[in-house]
Symmetry: C2
Subunit: 275 residues, 2 copies
């Protein structure tokens, strides 16, 4: 494991590490923000999952989560969005292959060899973080767009693993929208029954734990009606009596300007559960 970057930030340190990810079969990078409190004591961890086309860099350079992580004493871990390297399968579009792992464990060739981002984020990455950094076992998870989908699915599939969950502009029903249909058909095959385990709207119906979902969505988001469709999550949560706080924000789009505007409120949400 090798440290690639280290920058003082808001009294703590923003680092980037590279390691050989065994479940992915490739070298992976992740950002980790260590707040000032982590010099004195172990801190809880928020995992952040980024969206299509992103690497570990987007969130750590643009969201300004460090300020709130320093305020609350929360470590923030931001992995890359897919396996990487010359040996890893890829596709032409931005929405399949590298930069588009969709936080699933692929079962179809040529993807199954490396595309196991769910296993990586759920298991290998936290094990590594908890072994090598000054953190407690208290975990929260959040993300944006494809990463918002990832955060909701991870939390719904692993009762008790995360104390809180939130998402910005998530793909709440990948089985029903073009981004998800393309990715799931490639990674999981065309049998849609296999997709239910990777779809937040489907998982809500059978969730063993009633972990409240906090979702922020911009009403000027260019992907709102075609890819995100938060009303489907509203319906699924209503039908299952699953607690959901869906906040719609007039004027906000799909960019990091939206995330940076509300990340402080998400950090406060997670802090109430974690600290």
């Amino acid at each position: 494991m090798q440290r690639i970057e280290a920058h003082a930030s808001c009294g703590g340190v923003q680092e980037v590490w590279q390691h050989d990810a065994s479940v992915l079969g490739c070298a992976m990078r992740f950002g980790i923000y260590l707040p000032p409190q982590s010099r004195e004591r172990a801190c809880p961890v928020l995992y952040w999952l980024s969206g299509l086309t992103c690497t570990e860099q987007n969130f750590i350079t643009k969201a300004n989560a460090q300020r709130y992580a320093a305020e609350h004493g929360i470590v923030v871990v931001a992995p890359d969005t897919s396996p990487r390297g010359d040996a890893v399968a890829d596709a032409e579009g931005y929405d399949l292959g590298k930069g588009a792992g969709f936080y699933v464990d692929a079962t179809q060739a040529p993807w199954a060899a490396h595309y196991r981002m769910h296993d990586y984020v759920a298991n290998e990455l936290p094990a590594l973080v908890e072994a090598r950094f000054p953190v407690t076992a208290a975990r929260a998870i959040s993300g944006h767009s494809m990463g918002g989908h990832g955060a909701l699915v991870l939390a719904l599939r692993h009762p008790g693993r995360y104390r809180s969950v939130s998402a910005f502009s998530p793909i709440v029903a990948p089985s029903q929208v073009p981004w998800g249909e393309k990715a799931f058909a490639a990674y999981l095959g065309t049998n849609r029954a296999a997709w239910r385990n990777w779809d937040a709207c489907a998982l809500v119906a059978t969730a063993a734990e009633r972990l409240p979902l906090l979702v922020d969505q911009g009403e000027a988001d260019e992907f709102l009606a075609t890819q995100l469709r938060p009303e489907l999550l509203e319906e699924a949560c209503r039908a299952a009596a699953h607690p959901l706080q869906l906040r719609r924000h007039a004027g906000y789009d799909h960019s990091y300007y939206f995330i940076a505007s509300f990340i402080g409120e998400h950090m406060a949400h997670h802090s109430r559960a974690l600290v």
Copy 2:
């Protein structure tokens, strides 16, 4: 004048505009953040000057100044760092030509035709902003590295034009460091007497106005000893009895992580003078 981008941000709007800059003879882009207060009344303006290699994008996507601009009701204008386009002279290195205008008015061929960033920032840009946006004539100026040099020089050369000035990691004595010597020799010629008008340390000696300088400098900045040399500004201000608050921050480097960590304090500094 054409609006290229508009994103809701922290209750206001982050926009990017393109216009034909007459003093530069090319199309130029600038970012402008309009805080929520600007919907109701004219607001004062902070001009932000970025460093080497930057465009108008770096500050608006990475510094998170919008949060504080919204808090204080300040418009923030962030221009590009040099003239642009196929007709504009360029050089191989990152530290001369495009992305490296150094906020001077060039007198030497082939630069003199377009490289007039001082005139642009001091005159054309504020005239445009004050004619077209809901702003008052109250102005402040700040910047980073090459842009910190620009901010200090602009404020020192134009008494009464800015109510406050600050800088992150500025090149305080370009006449005495490699970045400045290379750029000034190219843009201004080899007669060093002509450089004095573009060097904060030289200008402090004869400044007509005692506008206090706020400067933040990271002690782990990789350019500290060779290019930035804040001790030269300390000496110049002491000799001239010019008010200077130079804050050295252990562990911080030259990156936007440093700026994002302290931009809130700079915005508060400017707010006290502007609002």
